[in-house]
């Protein structure tokens, strides 16, 4: 760690991991509710559990992104963070807002929460992933603006590299597109259309800039490969991400009352969306093969390679599987979507944050890399979580294929709930895989505390 203010990332990462645990716990509850419909009903109905599951994901990934930026930006910019104090204050504000929001979901009925937070003044609640009370959304905007100001000033008054400028661009995009969450017209088609300006342009747009720059940073650090090479890759990856992803938004405009031309535009451009992810995989393996040093932090290298591969599989391959309009006509809004969502979020965004944590946490704890035992356990947790996520995805895909056939494709379509009962076996297996994921996560946390032999490394 070259700059003291990089250490601020630590509190962000700890919060991120804690909320991650909550997300997975609620995930396993939901998984059980899929097969035991009355589990925790009516105290914790499915919609509440799902909202907690998805919102915790969003909040902890934002903690992860901000923590990553606080670690990365001072070093890339070759100066201390503009205001460490502001970063600390914003941490507590964001944590408070996040925890209060989740408690609000859990402790009062959602309609009551809407009333308490005066949703009527500016109704923004009750749309998927954007369930947060308006006041929380305003809080998110304030925190993100303060964050942007902080890293922006650091970068602008320091060294500007491709990595920190791309990261900043991604973060600015994140903030700008989030503003669409405040637009909630009564017209359902308009509402849905612009809702995607937050959701799609985040995860299939500007977040890819964030992901690619974080990955590029870690790869430079652990391989020692020439910055020029990495930067060229980074530019071409994010170029393809935006070239495919911007009009790729059209794959959400097939069946919501929008013009027919979106079926062509959405199909063609979203079919290109796997390309940037494939290039990330090529890039990661390429630079690791050409490495100029063997970094003692083997776990971080594994996470970096893993995120590239899993993002390509989850976002790229599983996205492509149902993105062409003639296919999507049958698969839209089924378990196929759920399968894709799980592996894409895990592979791209969960894993890139865990890559950053893996690389930076030992440095913030005054080590070059975690001890041998800790790294071994961390790598075990990598495999447990990653393989169980592969199985979650495969089981949901199986469920989805049968669902599509029985409910949408066969000559004699069956009602939704009848089909759900027929595919319960897949849900049971998904639940088992989910529990294994949770075990992997517990092992991951334990790895931070494991004692063992210090790693040996040659000083550069």
């Amino acid at each position: 760690m070259k700059y003291e203010s990089q250490g601020i990332a630590k509190m962000y990462f700890i919060a991120a991991i804690a909320l991650f645990v909550g997300q997975i716990l609620f995930g396993t509850i939901m998984g059980l509710q899929y097969v035991m419909g009355d589990f925790l009903f009516p105290e914790l109905p499915f919609n509440v559990v799902r909202m907690v599951h998805t919102n915790l994901l969003i909040i902890w990934l934002l903690f992860g992104f901000m923590g990553s930026a606080y670690f990365l930006v001072p070093e890339e910019s070759e100066r201390e963070l503009f205001s460490p104090m502001l970063a600390k204050v914003m941490f507590w504000i964001f944590l408070f807002a996040g925890v209060m929001t989740i408690l609000g979901y859990l402790l009062v009925p959602y309609a009551r929460l809407a009333e308490i937070t005066m949703n009527d003044l500016l109704p923004t609640m009750g749309r998927e992933f954007l369930e947060q009370p308006t006041i929380t959304k305003i809080g998110i905007v304030i925190v993100v603006l303060a964050f942007l100001f902080n890293i922006g000033m650091t970068i602008l008054t320091g060294r500007k590299t491709v990595i920190n400028v791309v990261l900043l661009t991604g973060m600015v995009g994140l903030a700008v597109f989030f503003l669409f969450s405040f637009y909630n017209p009564d017209n359902i088609v308009l509402d849905k259309y612009f809702w995607w300006f937050v959701v799609h342009l985040w995860v299939e747009g500007v977040w890819e800039l964030i992901m690619a720059s974080l990955l590029a940073y870690v790869l430079i650090k652990v391989t020692g490969v020439d910055r020029e090479v990495v930067e060229k890759w980074l530019y071409i990856i994010i170029a393809m991400a935006l070239i495919s992803g911007l009009l790729g938004t059209g794959h959400h405009f097939f069946w919501i009352g929008t013009p027919d031309y979106w079926q062509w535009i959405g199909s063609v451009f979203s079919a290109l969306e796997p390309i940037p992810f494939f290039m990330m995989t090529l890039f990661a393996f390429n630079v690791v093969n050409k490495r100029r040093r063997d970094h003692p932090n083997k776990a971080a290298v594994l996470w970096a390679l893993g995120t590239a591969v899993m993002a390509f599989l989850g976002a790229g391959v599983w996205g492509f599987l149902h993105t062409l309009a003639p296919v999507n006509f049958y698969t839209h809004g089924t378990q196929i979507t759920a399968a894709h969502g799980h592996m894409a979020f895990y592979g791209a965004y969960v894993m890139v944050v865990l890559t950053m944590i893996s690389y930076s946490m030992p440095l913030m704890r005054g080590q070059k890399a975690a001890n041998v035992t800790a790294q071994l356990l961390e790598m075990w947790s990598f495999w447990l979580m990653t393989i169980s996520m592969v199985f979650i995805t495969l089981f949901l895909t199986g469920a989805g294929i049968v669902q599509v056939y029985l409910q949408r494709y066969s000559d004699d379509p069956l009602p939704f709930m009848v089909v759900q009962e027929k595919i319960a076996l897949f849900y049971w297996m998904r639940e088992v895989a989910g529990v294994v994921f949770l075990i992997g996560l517990m092992l991951y946390i334990y790895s931070f505390f494991a004692k063992g032999k210090e790693v040996e490394f040659v000083e550069e």
């Binding site: 109905p45 499915f46 060229k232 009352g257 079926q263 006509f329 809004g333 379509p413």
Partner: protein, 145 residues
């Protein structure tokens, strides 16, 4: 990558591509918004429907159901529920109204939201309005949603 393909070229593709396709997206968005009145059933977007949409939102219906394929996949699609329930808002209202408070043992069940008759009517009218949106190829593929 080969030396003939320089970082400068990669950067130009990024900036040029991003700006160009973002402008195309804005252009198509303008066109889409202009042409929506042909399909979006806005002629039936009454104040009651708008009130129904708010109820749909503040009861987090999307947390279990899909609406035109978007939402959660735990409970049936509601974009065509008006058709599926025999074009009867009364049937929709009755369904919501008579959900057992403690659920149905062993099965998924919808919470009892304790809506007033006026609220039930608004919500049913909202679902009727959504059913009236002209989706491409008349999605969903069949009445089961």
């Amino acid at each position: 990558m080969r030396e003939t393909f320089t970082k400068g070229m990669a950067r130009n593709i990024y900036y040029g591509g991003a700006v160009f396709f973002f402008l195309v997206l804005i252009g198509l968005t303008v066109d889409t918004v202009k042409s929506l009145p042909k399909t979006d059933n806005s002629e039936n977007l009454t104040e009651q429907v708008a009130a129904g949409k708010r109820l749909w939102e503040i009861n987090n219906c999307i947390g279990c159901h899909t609406l035109l394929g978007e939402g959660a996949y735990f409970a049936p699609e509601l974009g065509n529920v008006y058709t599926r329930f025999g074009e009867s808002t009364e049937a929709i209202k009755a369904f919501i109204k008579y959900r057992p408070v403690d659920g149905i043992p062993g099965r998924r069940s919808m919470p009892q939201f304790n809506l007033t008759d006026e609220q039930l009517e608004a919500l049913a009218q909202f679902l009727k309005y959504v059913d009236g949106v002209k989706t491409a190829r008349d999605w969903p593929p069949n009445i089961q949603g």
